[in-house]
Subunit: 346 residues, 2 copies
């Protein structure tokens, strides 16, 4: 069982995952390559190599669970950072604060095709994938111990992928992670001052200026954020104000699939298969949630869910790690020009 | 000239360094190795390859500037993220906030020896190096436009070093970076509640528990923080409460050099030359400083300067980048046991 510990000095929770405890010789190199085909545990026919599935999509009606024939498969992570059993047991340890590592850690195998990626999967398949994300989110939010669910994808070894087969991860946490808490606070402050959604305001400002809009459709806008941390960073914003991704309609799902596939194809064309992280930011779970010891807030109707694509083309070094202050060598306006000029190889 | 832009949604400043603008083909791979010897611009005899020096230590009295004979050399960064000319020109751009990239970006060439590192340099040399850091900090803080100075070191390619020759960097910024602002806020809240320094309290708690103390001397304590983000993360805390590193005495400089060298040797022994970031956290510059638009605070006497050593043995992937929530697979108590058991090869 892992443990959550509060960093009193920096004001953030950390997961100490003693279950996957690493001794010095396990730590001697950060992997810079991903595991290759022959024994891929995510390929069809290898289902017994993974923990029993939570959900599978696309298998024919007579297909048995944990056999082939699926189109998308959701499994528990074999080495979970957090696990679902038991109570949080929040307590103080002298000056310090801890709780048990209660949560969930799932893997979404996005396709049976080992060589695919978000840019090569057909839009209909991306719709199925996004629907799986939405449904897992809604399901995990039934458990009121889980305050936040992060859906994310590591594409490429440099971005943290350890297996090449296309997959995403879902981690449900018993606290609101700091970046999300910070976004909630910014949105709240803006709403209190102006009675308008911060994200809607940013979207309108960007659409009016039209310097950082990469692509758009009737439901979503893909833009390079004004203060991007990373070169070619993108944000995908729904035009319709909604706090949580669970509110997405079928029509919006199709529109999001279109944007996401096209954004992936354009990044691939401009940057030659870049490593990237894809993250979903959505409202936290509960009506009253704890951002840090002692600070309860109410459900943020002023939040606005969105996706972030964070290409990993620059090193996150001492300056960034020591200050959370980023140096981005590519202006988002310049990234936008490159991404507008290429058409996706769809 | 680079530009600082405020991320309204995440509440943090970002440097858009358009001077070192990177086009797509420059971005196609994150360097995983460091530049090798023959043309090292930091080696003695190559002084003309760098911008003219700001400071050099150890050259004989008759030695000319920008020639060999130095022991430590401070130069402006050839590709600075921030530069010292002109006014900040803070202004709004519609909804957004920006200022010019005013600041400083220096490189400290730590030794003439290309193959040295913090663990092999003699303690007397580390004292000289730490004195250079202190003096540069004091000098840069004379410029009241500069609100914060970060001294940091990237050791190894994975930690962001692009040249192998031992060097550190100093970046002076016109804003307080978010992690430092967060530490200041945590320290302030703790002080307001208890009229005690948060860092002194943490230090006392850790000394009493003695589970995470790696080494100590009369002036400094090296410990593995309770909520370490990274495996084998270390914090070096001065026992004497002082907000800024500029307050260090000569006796304390010698004690810090001893700790730092010994910590580097032990990490090297246990982890076989790990990549790491070393960062100095000290109080910001001014009596009144701006943490974010509209929020002025006064000089934080409740802060307590310190060093952090952050080994880079795990990937910072989508979960961490998307949430600022870290998964650490090695408990700090376990790291402490390994680091206590080895003696440095001093």
């Amino acid at each position: 069982m892992s443990e959550l510990r509060f960093d009193l000095i920096q004001g953030r929770w950390v997961i100490i995952a003693t279950d996957r405890s690493r001794r010095p010789h396990d730590l001697r190199s950060v992997s810079q390559s991903v595991t290759e085909p022959s024994f891929c545990p995510f390929c069809p026919g290898q289902e017994r190599r993974t923990p029993p599935e939570i959900l599978a999509i696309g298998r024919p009606p007579n297909g048995a669970p944990n056999g082939p024939g699926w189109q998308i498969r959701v499994i528990p992570n074999k080495y979970p950072a957090l696990s679902v059993e038991g109570d949080l047991e929040r307590r103080g340890v002298g000056l310090f604060d801890r709780m048990r590592g209660v949560g969930a850690h799932e893997v979404v195998i996005e396709t049976p095709e080992h060589e695919a990626d978000l840019g090569t999967l057909p839009d209909e398949h991306l719709v199925r994938l996004l629907r799986v994300f939405r449904d897992r989110l809604a399901d995990l939010y039934r458990d009121r111990r889980l305050k936040y669910v992060l859906i994310f994808k590591n594409q490429g070894a440099v971005a943290g992928a350890t297996l090449a087969h296309p997959h995403s991860q879902i981690i449900a946490t018993p606290i609101i992670p700091r970046i999300v808490a910070q976004e909630l606070n910014q949105a709240r402050q803006h709403f209190e001052a102006k009675e308008r959604c911060l994200f809607c305001d940013v979207l309108n400002e960007e659409l009016e200026r039209d310097e950082r809009i990469v692509l758009e459709n009737p439901h979503f806008v893909v833009l390079a954020p004004y203060a991007s941390r990373f070169p070619f960073e993108l944000m995908i914003l729904p035009r319709r104000h909604a706090a949580a991704m669970t509110a997405i309609t079928d029509e919006e799902l199709a529109a999001l699939a279109g944007c996401l596939g096209e954004a992936a194809r354009r990044l691939h064309r401009v940057l030659a298969d870049p490593p990237y992280n894809l993250v979903f930011h959505t409202a936290p779970n509960t009506e009253a949630f704890l951002t840090k010891p002692g600070a309860w807030q109410t459900l943020p109707h002023d939040y606005h869910w969105h996706l972030e694509i964070l290409p990993r083309l620059t090193q996150v070094a001492g300056f960034e790690t020591g200050t959370d202050f980023y140096i981005n060598p590519t202006a988002p306006e310049e990234a936008t020009r490159f991404l507008r000029e290429v058409e996706g190889a769809g």
